[in-house]
């Protein structure tokens, strides 16, 4: 009873926006066609989370995904990519967990350069506005992430694969 959605009519596609709000902040927004409680569920249950966090087009595989979603709980994601010499782990701690409306977590693989991510879910008429806010510890940390992630060609899919990794890797530059 698990009908694949390929043949289903695609619901109206909403716009994704990204803005550098300040020297240290990056904000991503998007409206999802469903109630906040389901978006929250998809964000906090590993078996659901791993189905969307790594889009197929990135060429990445999520080898493991552990999430202990409660205040002080940890998460750990391990990715592989055909061009990466070895799997890479990304991990951190949940600082705030407010069911259906708000999650805050650290990105600890980045050491001191890691950003703190806050996502809020705001439901309106059965749809949910998702706002993801990344606060970097310094202008330099965000600049470095951008500088090393830039390719000058944002439309090429291969570069997208690279970029997703580069950004997170560059963020881990603070680790000595």
């Amino acid at each position: 009873m698990d009908a694949r959605s390929e043949s289903q009519p695609t619901p109206m596609k909403n716009r994704t926006t990204v803005e550098r709000k300040s020297e240290r902040e990056l904000v991503v927004t998007r409206t999802i066609n469903g109630p906040a409680r389901l978006v929250f569920e998809a964000w906090t249950k590993p078996e659901l989370f791993k189905r969307w966090w790594v889009p197929k087009s990135t060429g990445l595989s999520l080898l493991s995904c552990e999430m202990d979603v409660r205040v002080g709980g940890k998460y750990r994601l391990v990715f592989s990519h055909p061009a990466a010499p070895e799997p890479m782990a990304f991990y951190g701690t949940y600082l705030e967990v407010t069911p259906h409306s708000r999650l805050v977590w650290t990105n600890d693989e980045a050491g001191d350069a890691g950003q703190v991510s806050t996502v809020t879910f705001e439901e309106k008429a059965g749809k949910t506005l998702v706002v993801l806010h990344d606060l970097y510890p310094s202008k330099e940390a965000l600049d470095a992430a951008i500088a090393s992630g830039s390719t000058g060609d944002g439309t090429d899919e291969t570069f997208d694969q690279l970029d997703e990794f580069v950004v997170t890797l560059a963020a881990s530059a603070g680790r000595s």
Binding site: Q8, P11, K13, N14, T16, T17, V18, E19, V28, R30, I32, N33, G34, P35, L38, V39, E41, A42, L48, R51, W52, W53, P55, S57, T58, H81, A83, A84, P85, A113, V130, L132, E140, A141, D143, A144, I146, A147, S148, G149, S150, T151, G152, D153, G154, T155, D156, T158, F159, D160, L162, D163, V166, L169, A170, S172, A173, G174, R175, S176
Partner: protein, 119 residues
């Protein structure tokens, strides 16, 4: 084009797979530095640091310029001028993610309806 992209992908992975090189990038994000500065900061020989910088340079993550006897390193050439392009690919990444999230949520909605009918 694809080959070029793949080569660059490989170069970047190689460049960033090393903790020292990631540290160098972070350092250069704060300020330009000479190879000598970097070698001292990371407790390495000049030769060792030159190799690291060479790898970063080939990946396009760092550029160097020799003035007199000093070789200065800075981030780039893919630098901040590329911020707009970077924002755009980052947007595309999240767009793809959210498309997939939409599908997952859609499926949860359908499942709820079916479960609701059963009750």
């Amino acid at each position: 084009m694809v080959q070029h992209a793949t080569a660059r992908l490989d170069a970047s992975f190689a460049a960033l797979s090393d903790a020292t090189r990631r540290g160098v990038l972070e350092q250069l994000g704060r300020a330009d530095a000479s190879i000598t500065d970097l070698a001292e900061k990371f407790h390495m020989t000049l030769t060792g640091m030159k190799k690291h910088v060479g790898v970063l340079e080939r990946a396009g993550l760092v550029s160097t310029e020799k003035v007199g006897r000093v070789r200065t390193c800075k981030l780039g050439p893919r630098r901040l001028e590329d911020e707009t392009a970077w924002i755009e690919w980052y947007r595309q990444l999240w767009d793809a993610r959210f498309d997939a999230l939409d599908q997952v949520v859609e499926e949860l909605k359908r499942k709820e309806k079916v479960d609701g009918r059963k009750k």
